[in-house]
Symmetry: D2
Subunit: 303 residues, 4 copies
Amino acid sequence: MSDSGDSAQHSSQGNWGRWGAEDERGAANFISTDLVRDAAGLVRTGKVYSLSLPVQQQGVPVFPRRAPCLHFMTLDGGDYAAGLKRKAGYQSADDYISLPTHGTTHIDSLAHVWYDDRMYNGYLGSLVRSTGARKLGIDKLKHLVGRGVLLDLAGWKGLRHLPGGAVITVDDLKGCARHHGVELNPGDIILLRTGWQTVFREQGSERFFQSEPGLGLEAARFLGELGIAGVGSDNYGIEVVPTENDEPAPVHRMLIRDFGVYLIELLALDELAHGGCHEFLFVAAPLLITGGTGSPVNPLAIT
Amino acid sequence: MSDSGDSAQHSSQGNWGRWGAEDERGAANFISTDLVRDAAGLVRTGKVYSLSLPVQQQGVPVFPRRAPCLHFMTLDGGDYAAGLKRKAGYQSADDYISLPTHGTTHIDSLAHVWYDDRMYNGYLGSLVRSTGARKLGIDKLKHLVGRGVLLDLAGWKGLRHLPGGAVITVDDLKGCARHHGVELNPGDIILLRTGWQTVFREQGSERFFQSEPGLGLEAARFLGELGIAGVGSDNYGIEVVPTENDEPAPVHRMLIRDFGVYLIELLALDELAHGGCHEFLFVAAPLLITGGTGSPVNPLAIT
Amino acid sequence: MSDSGDSAQHSSQGNWGRWGAEDERGAANFISTDLVRDAAGLVRTGKVYSLSLPVQQQGVPVFPRRAPCLHFMTLDGGDYAAGLKRKAGYQSADDYISLPTHGTTHIDSLAHVWYDDRMYNGYLGSLVRSTGARKLGIDKLKHLVGRGVLLDLAGWKGLRHLPGGAVITVDDLKGCARHHGVELNPGDIILLRTGWQTVFREQGSERFFQSEPGLGLEAARFLGELGIAGVGSDNYGIEVVPTENDEPAPVHRMLIRDFGVYLIELLALDELAHGGCHEFLFVAAPLLITGGTGSPVNPLAIT
Amino acid sequence: MSDSGDSAQHSSQGNWGRWGAEDERGAANFISTDLVRDAAGLVRTGKVYSLSLPVQQQGVPVFPRRAPCLHFMTLDGGDYAAGLKRKAGYQSADDYISLPTHGTTHIDSLAHVWYDDRMYNGYLGSLVRSTGARKLGIDKLKHLVGRGVLLDLAGWKGLRHLPGGAVITVDDLKGCARHHGVELNPGDIILLRTGWQTVFREQGSERFFQSEPGLGLEAARFLGELGIAGVGSDNYGIEVVPTENDEPAPVHRMLIRDFGVYLIELLALDELAHGGCHEFLFVAAPLLITGGTGSPVNPLAIT
């Protein structure tokens, strides 16, 4: 079978081959229907939190080499005010958006990052072309629904935000979870609140993207080996910047490519943290962009 | 208060004023936290259905005057194959999308349709300008989470699809619900399966958009007065075309503008219907497009 | 005739009514076929200068509230390197651009700026709607071809660039023209070299858009009354910033709306200035964007 | 020098190596400054013809797999009618366009088509990546200015349009030129009027793109060897469809890749043909899209 990877050869790496040579959903497979049902059982208050930033051109963080999110009105109330005729009184407005898939709160597909020419499960990187990712596109995920766990690292440490460059360690994950009274389990989606968006709001884009507190390699491996399905954060790239080994995105490489774990970036976590609920039904439903390397998403915490 | 509507004057119409003169969420307010919790209690198997069409340029229905969804790769595996250097082995792919907010499976905001220059709750249509809807944008909804009910009208009638122009009546809604053994309750999100996408697949775009089976005015009023939060369908516009009064979109006007009900269009309902589950936790999380008249969305049925 | 302006009432203002109540080409009408022929007669060396900045996302000035120019490849050589099959050996590449019409070197249409609800020739501003400008769109210009005159103000004054806020006066225009040995005539397109792009290159975008040297109101009136067809510059907005009266864009209002003169902004004039030719055949051919308020353009000086 | 082609090896093919191994302008080099000056001397009446179709979403031909041209207003007169405040009376409108570079009247860059992994002058096709063409981009052309010759083949043959599939031969070129009393010379830009857009207007897009009359291989070679700089037409792809050898685009391959000739497609030639002028100053000024495979363009015939 020409397109699939040589999984036998790579089976020692993370989760390659764990769900068959044809698998394209990666660590989302950890979430059995039983786990989904259990996660639904966590809903106690019925309060729903949106974890997305607003999608707009100004006032939101966009990674420097990416373009801003654009929103165009193709019909609006101004047209009627200017004299546009109504058919039998009907009035409507319509619009159009243009944005990078990683340009606001988003989820990375497993086709977003790789190395040695092999993506997750051994698929060739060359399957990602101008027409999109023939394998591992975000459309293959369809949904990420399971138990969400909020680790409010900034809150736990009594800081408005972790400092840029601060490495989140295994001890941090465990200590913070213990503090909140929650366990970390296979299939979980772990949300890490660093408070880093404070820097964007108070010091601007340049400082925000210059560094960030985030997951270190040891903690990434711990989460990968634990069998989590996804990890999200309110920073822009999950992982600590500058990276521990000075190479680009080592945590992305390990989690996405080796473990098939989904990364959810630029989350809005303040309101959820303020609510004080640390385990909940987590729902992320990416747009089913055929062959997409990611999707903007409005993840929900149903508590 | 200049921007809000004159709710007293219009309070006889649908739900205007029901949640205060400042309300921008409309019938989503029917979904109390209790109802969300109850809806989470409907999760029995843990199976999750995505109700979205793929987001892609070809092979999917787009309303004639709208533009197709576009997907551009800004970095891909081909670049590495062509010789792009890797920093310390790192490889990645990135992309960009451009699409009408109503160009694939989507949810209408309450700023999408109105008449007499007044939108839901009395807000002036002139608040919707080139910079977006200052009131009632899709960002105000944040999420639509509650009890979903699937009424498989085509299946109930033993048809591959209802015929174009077929009016869904109150008796249809009640009869189909009885057939499935489900009740219709306030706060519900009702999904109507007409099978109409069969026409797109077999006869193409022109025939698909020429007419459609859909909700009639009587049934729309029934649902509005019942207090549903949203209604979705696998057709392109929820309501029957040609419309019963030959005017444009009378059901949109009534449900969106008078009742503040959310319409979810171009749903993919076949797999859910095949699954045979008729009540479930429904989750739609629109992109929080500031001032958007709608949003592409990947709604989920968690069963 | 409902759409046309009330030209009689406004005939005292600039060129309204000069070419009839239906006119949409404004001062381009000054360029008779005789003047075009004469301008072609200015071609002596056959050397052609492009006066456009590159169209690209990075490294070029874009007015802060506008979006950058984007360029997407929809098929490229990387795809073949990655294994894309060729039909009978055929290989090709294709692409797509997205940009503000005023986002790079561009020409303003007469629908770009107005006041008192009336555009050039009395057309109502309310004719410019979400579907574009029903009157005075850039498609009505079709072309701007005539005698071009380069006034190298920075060079004349021995400066790398005029300072931000420096007002170009009538005396400057006359003195610089005399220095170059050229006359300013009706129908001309006058190009003003300020050197201001030096500030963009050396000090960045923020400083570049904070102020600029440019045409003052007196000189604008002089040019309008002289009967020029267009005026271009290497700055971002032709006119001096801060403006002389602290109001937004008084020169735009006067030249575009009162006189129907075309403004061409963000020109690349260094190479032409270095060439030392001060009168030439000027050719600007905007994209015929139906109802556009402007168009990106690559103006040429054929010397 | 790694990026340039191995021109020695390919020198027998067309114009490779003719202007040095570093050349990226191809047959545009045939147009010496003397030829530009001579072409300017062809201007007799001063009448200027725009040869571009309108740039708009509907009613214009767009090749099926490409996207339509989109035009969005970001500020318009409707906004003021709806109550937008004016700063000191200032009113303006602004807009944004999105379009395929080959989606309306356009010029192909030399990076648009190739075979055997080598583009014009031996440059590797793999230099064309997601960030654009590192060699032979349309920005390298800058302008195409020279003697234009209109061959009105449909008019000469007394047809409203040549039939689909009709091959334009060397005899056609010579016979038509003789009929018009014009010569075909090195450095010329030859415009072929087939009348084919009649089919679009009368029979729609599907028939228009199913076939077309156009240049055959023999005539293409004749033009290439003659040393023309460019060839344009009112059809969508210059060359006859179905192609003579049933392979994709053999004329593109020969003219663009072997001879470095510029192709200009979807021209509007009816008005020029009606004017009866067959030699003129031709000016095409592409947008300087860095690394573009083409550019929308509004070519002018200055007669």
